[in-house]
């Protein structure tokens, strides 16, 4: 039996403890590692322009992943974000031909909030599992978008300069989309830690019954949460269409699974009660860099997907191992 006070904690243990208390650090290390691998494979690729491009593509993904982070904290998920973002982008692009851009943007966010609200009412009031509720509503939204599309075929579409500036532009080498994203991320991160609403998300995800006994009306929180998630998805769609500049009927749909992956890689528990938005942002960056890395790898497409899958798994497994109790 050691009797002295534990002064000499082995360095390994100390490192582990440090990493566990700072779960962002290993994620960032990993991100840097991927960038280094990329630079080794394609010397010269990591330059100012590439970094700006990566950030531009990571931002819409990170905003969509914020929807997953917030809903996953309560033990839910939002599978409608891909189509909601697309709806917003498409509605904006078609409305802008007849309206002022600001009005078109406002109009385009309306369906996003409404879909979110419907998700929230289903999940919060009728207690439908969010997976099913958001899946069902994404089907409904897909159909609705197609119907809408028919009615506006003659109007054409356009991307307002302001959104193009936001999505694609750079000022002194810094992507303009950071103007929107930095405050947004700050609000989400602080909101989760320092507001009653943020605390309630964790509380509901951890133990809804306990929250209820403490006087929390969970359904209200859930309804607001999913409406917020819809709004965020709508914003992501607008930023994305500003970046891609081609409003299609499936614009952001391929981002759905990556948005879930970004939140999970970032350390948010899919069972609720644990996680945060900081990790999600790094997760989105990791995924974006990984996509580039696989693009520049000259291997068959099949092998590329296999690698993508295994790398996601390896990253999450490493993160779980580092952050869990030893």
């Amino acid at each position: 039996m050691s009797t002295g006070t534990a002064v000499a904690i082995p360095i390994g243990r100390r490192l582990r403890r440090f990493l566990r208390d700072q779960p962002l650090v290993p994620l960032i290390v990993l991100l840097v590692g991927l960038v280094i691998v990329l630079e080794v494979l394609r010397p010269g690729i990591v330059n100012e322009r590439w970094i700006a491009n990566t950030i531009k593509f990571a931002i819409p993904l990170a905003i969509l992943a914020s929807c997953q982070t917030l809903t996953m904290l309560t033990g839910g998920i939002d599978l409608s974000v891909g189509i909601v973002a697309t709806v917003s982008a498409f509605v904006m692009a078609t409305q802008v031909t007849t309206h002022d851009p600001a009005i078109a943007i406002a109009i385009s966010l309306l369906p996003a909030i409404l879909i979110g609200l419907a998700n929230g009412i289903g999940a919060g009031v009728f207690r439908v599992h969010p997976l099913i509720m958001t899946l069902g509503l994404s089907l409904i939204a897909t159909g609705g978008l197609q119907v809408y599309q028919r009615t506006v075929l003659a109007t054409g579409s356009a991307i307002p300069d302001s959104l193009a500036w936001l999505g694609t532009g750079r000022t002194n080498g810094v992507p303009n989309s950071l103007v929107l994203f930095v405050p947004l991320a700050a609000v989400i991160i602080l909101g989760l830690r320092r507001t009653g609403f943020g605390r309630l998300l964790y509380a509901i995800g951890d133990n809804e019954n306990a929250a209820r006994l403490s006087g929390v009306r969970a359904w209200q929180v859930i309804v607001v949460l999913y409406a917020l998630s819809g709004l965020l998805a709508g914003i992501a769609g607008l930023v994305y269409v500003g970046l891609i500049k081609a409003p299609s009927l499936s614009l952001a749909v391929p981002l759905l699974l990556p948005s879930v992956a970004a939140a999970v890689i970032g350390g948010t528990s899919i069972f609720g009660g644990r996680g945060g938005y900081g990790g999600t942002i790094v997760g989105a960056l990791i995924l974006t860099v990984l996509t580039t890395l696989l693009t520049v790898l000259q291997v068959p497409e099949g092998a590329r997907r296999i690698l993508f899958g295994f790398i996601i798994l390896a990253v999450t497994a490493a993160h779980v191992r580092i952050t869990e109790d030893s």
């Binding site: 590439w50 197609q146 599309q149 579409s157 081609a246 499936s250 749909v253």
Partner: protein
């Protein structure tokens, strides 16, 4: 059935893509314009060959007179086509061929599509240089056919090398990120061949402030507009009309009327419009149509096969709507 009262079923397995949406609108417009179609019965969703089997069988149950189908792949839906033709239903496959002999085929020649564009590009480069090869969706048979055409052209130009081959999945956003990444590597290349994800590629060059290289795309309204207007852009659009669906309706109606064509297969060969020669520029200028959705092919009709007006296809209304 007597004149003017045909019911035509439609089966399509990709939803939410401009080309396919145009195809469906062409089908509706042609059905209306023909005056011989009483109603359309459209099964239109994202699914695979097995799902298309289901849709075709449902259409058989619904008692349609003819089925216009854009097949998920050339072989997978043969059993249902056979069942339909056995039941006396006329089946017309559009866009892609099917191997079932009892069906009529009115298809875009995908191999030729790729060959034509690639050959033009390689000639443009003087038979020497490197190109970025931006394919469609991995595992799709149309992509495979186009690959065959591209490889055929490549074989004819030993001086051309493929610097980079990627699958865009026919997604605008993926294509844009991929080309931006590649531009960022700084590795020089001389041309880009795309499988129809084209206007975002031009955007990427413009936004990155790098010199444009020759780009081959499809006749999508957005890209055609760029070929006409973007300073310094050299490129070509290869036609791949979505309006082939309307042609399919015409063929089906003709067969129902008793005018069975001599050959069961009609391949619609693509055209190439480039902006290098005056002739090509004239064609492009004539084809350009800024009022169309950028994802829609500008060839909104197939000469001799369709007789609807532009207003009709944009209205996208079928009989009884």
């Amino acid at each position: 059935a007597q004149d003017g009262s045909y019911t035509i079923g439609v089966s399509n397995t990709v939803q939410g893509n401009g080309w396919r949406e145009e195809m469906v609108c062409a089908i509706k417009a042609q059905a209306l314009a023909s005056g011989k179609v009483e109603s359309l019965n459209i099964a239109h969703r994202n699914t695979d060959a097995a799902g298309q089997l289901e849709d075709i069988r449902n259409l058989i149950q619904a008692g349609v007179d003819a089925i216009v189908v854009n097949p998920a792949n050339p072989e997978g839906i043969n059993p249902a086509i056979k069942e339909a033709t056995d039941a006396g239903i006329v089946v017309v496959a559009v866009d892609q061929a099917v191997t079932e002999q009892s069906a009529f085929v009115l298809s875009n020649n995908q191999e030729e599509y790729a060959y034509l564009g690639a050959k033009w590009l390689f000639e443009q480069l003087g038979g020497d240089g490197t190109v970025v090869y931006m394919r469609g969706a991995a595992g799709a048979s149309a992509d495979d056919d186009r690959d065959a055409g591209f490889k055929r052209a490549l074989a004819e130009f030993p001086g051309i090398k493929v610097a980079h081959e990627v699958f865009t999945g026919w997604q605008q956003d993926q294509g844009k990120q991929q080309i931006l990444d590649y531009i960022a590597t700084g590795i020089p290349f001389d041309g880009v061949w795309t499988s129809g994800i084209d206007n975002v590629i031009v955007d990427a060059f413009v936004e990155s402030d790098v010199p444009l290289v020759p780009i081959v795309g499809a006749d999508n309204a957005g890209f055609v507009g760029q070929l006409n207007s973007v300073e310094g852009l050299v490129g070509a659009a290869v036609t791949n009309p979505g309006s082939i669906g309307g042609a399919g309706v015409t063929l089906a109606v003709r067969i129902l009327d008793g005018e069975t064509p001599g050959s069961r297969t009609v391949l619609v060969d693509p055209e190439l419009w480039e902006n290098v020669t005056a002739d090509g520029r004239a064609k492009l200028a004539a084809a350009a149509d800024p009022s169309l959705d950028p994802e829609w092919p500008v060839s909104i009709s197939v000469p001799e096969w369709t007789n609807y007006s532009k207003a009709q296809i944009i209205a996208c209304a079928g009989p009884g709507e």
